[in-house]
Symmetry: C2
Amino acid sequence: MPEPVPELCRRIRQNELFSHLYMERQTTIKDIAVALRLSKSTVSRALRDAPDIKIETKKAVKALAEELDYQPNKLALSLLNRQTHTIGVIIPNLDYVLSTMVKGIDEVALEAGYTVMVCQSDESFGREIVNTKRLLESLVDGFIVSVSSETKVFEHIKKIQNKKIPLVLFDRVVNHISCPSVRLDNIAGGVLATQHLVDQGYKRIAILAGPENLNISNKRMEGYLQTLKLNGLRPDKRMIIHCDFNQQYAYEATKELLAMKQPPDAIFTISDRMAIGAMLAIKEKGLQMPDDIGLVGFNNEPVTSLVSPSISSVEMYAFEMGKATAKLFIEMLNSDDTMAHQEIVIKPKLFIRESSKRIITKKDRNNSA
Amino acid sequence: MPEPVPELCRRIRQNELFSHLYMERQTTIKDIAVALRLSKSTVSRALRDAPDIKIETKKAVKALAEELDYQPNKLALSLLNRQTHTIGVIIPNLDYVLSTMVKGIDEVALEAGYTVMVCQSDESFGREIVNTKRLLESLVDGFIVSVSSETKVFEHIKKIQNKKIPLVLFDRVVNHISCPSVRLDNIAGGVLATQHLVDQGYKRIAILAGPENLNISNKRMEGYLQTLKLNGLRPDKRMIIHCDFNQQYAYEATKELLAMKQPPDAIFTISDRMAIGAMLAIKEKGLQMPDDIGLVGFNNEPVTSLVSPSISSVEMYAFEMGKATAKLFIEMLNSDDTMAHQEIVIKPKLFIRESSKRIITKKDRNNSA
DNA sequence: TCTTTTCCGTTTAACGGTTAATATTACACC
DNA sequence: GGTGTAATATTAACCGTTAAACGGAAAAGA
């Protein structure tokens, strides 16, 4: 005949029985079941307040669970429910913009009960493939991806979609892939920067664009071209330089630009890193910003306001973008029907600083003209 | 009577049978077993090249596995083997130094077959606790932790240890906790910076230290104090400012320093962010670096060579530190005995730049004296 | 012919949890 | 005394995998 439950609990609490339960292994439902002479399922249901368990039993189970610091094994649950509450995040690197975005993703995910696994592809297509494979194996509940600049083939992304695994693209969105996404209005960013330079009276505006196949770079350039045309300025191919997202390349490209017969009187770089590179070359040449030459960057990294002269830059709200991405992702998870692929587009804003702000205002310029 | 295996394979390949296997669900070992009229475990052993399976059988199994894109379910394996091949990484934020370290950790972990889960505490004690709990629930195989600046109580860390879960601390190491760790020789860093300033002829050297309870900050200060004494300079309490790791605070603190009757003629900041803040205040005051005042930062962030004047800084080899940490961690996992807690200490190196390099060399100074 | 070995597989249990179907018990009612 | 019905607990199956123990048949040895 089994002992009465309260007495048993007392003995367990006082460690007279089952002292092995206090060992290294995590307590399981089975331990509690054995201790209280109940079946596994009774314990399970008691913990989850099922209606058909006696109140006394529930109390005893819960007390012992508390006592033994019982915690359900997530692995077992995941196996059963086919979900891991984990989001796989693939990003090309951990630079300022992306780590800020990850921060945003992390924050929202945490709140929604998800843990993120961040993998960096390091701008390498090969590593992106490996990361994708890894995360697929890890059975993440879904993917949040920003592709590397090397990525020109998207089979690995399509594989995710074929398996009907939720996917959100962000920042570096891919046109060939149709899925929910969050991105900056890069054209608008290009327009903002270029129009500002035009407004400040610059006439020969060069652009340091990123790698040729990178969508975000091309869109920013599109904005640049549109704005030139709109203002009656003829785009000049020699003023358009493609180079890696890299300070060194930007430095060298700028040096070449400045060595031209008719050098530019303003430069728009599609990242702040590149703006810094450009700035070094400009200073080396002995030119003054904003008088001799104007400079506008992109991303609005803190460094832009730290250097001298401070650099005008286009803010892309990376943190908010990260949050929006995670929110969209979670929304998608919760809507069981395959969601119409929503596209969230963030509007950029230009922060004007010393590098491009000539003293003359628009009005002044009109008067003097 | 069961059909001969090759014939069966053919039919499966041609989708005559079991077309449901081509459905959304991942193929399992059971699917293969049913298809080939074998038992689950035979399939399992065939896939793993167990010796007591007929070669023909193995071939058939492997062929079908390939065909159906079979991939073992990690969750099931983890449940069985009690290991998830996942490392929980807790860091206070994703600034330049830490993201570089995470890059290093990630690289080594990936190679060793581990995936990392990065959680940011955002310098908040509360979030650090939450993160720890989450990762414990996720049953990570171990922890790599750098504590937040708010953390003064370490019960959550001890809890990890009590559960005998492998733990490595890095960068912000905690004295009260005895475990393998990787950190910078912060005292040496403080010595390098201070001795350099002394060598350059600066006499009244101030220090912008970080939060009071932050070990790394205090150690750097210790190096500073030691060096002053060694060189016969008397430390002055008014020259020691504790403030948050934050550019704004550093800016204000520097303004106050410079407003003193006897202001410092050099400032050592224990981060580059703070150095930038200090620099802004110095420029605002109209002082010239390095002539009127010297400045040395810490971390050797890229920004130090981008600003003008460029800032001398102590390099802490963040990427290598990250790699070393992950290596130590994996080594620990593989050595089943509780490892004697190894402590890896990285030696810093000073990079001298414009902000502190007076033209005079040591020899010049001796001559003129 | 009977036992032993070898070969090739299968069965079972386990990991830790949930859940649907099934007992068991007690009590009221006819 | 049977029957119906709550109330409560148990069994067994399942998620996907592996490891240990066991099984059956054929070949080899006595």
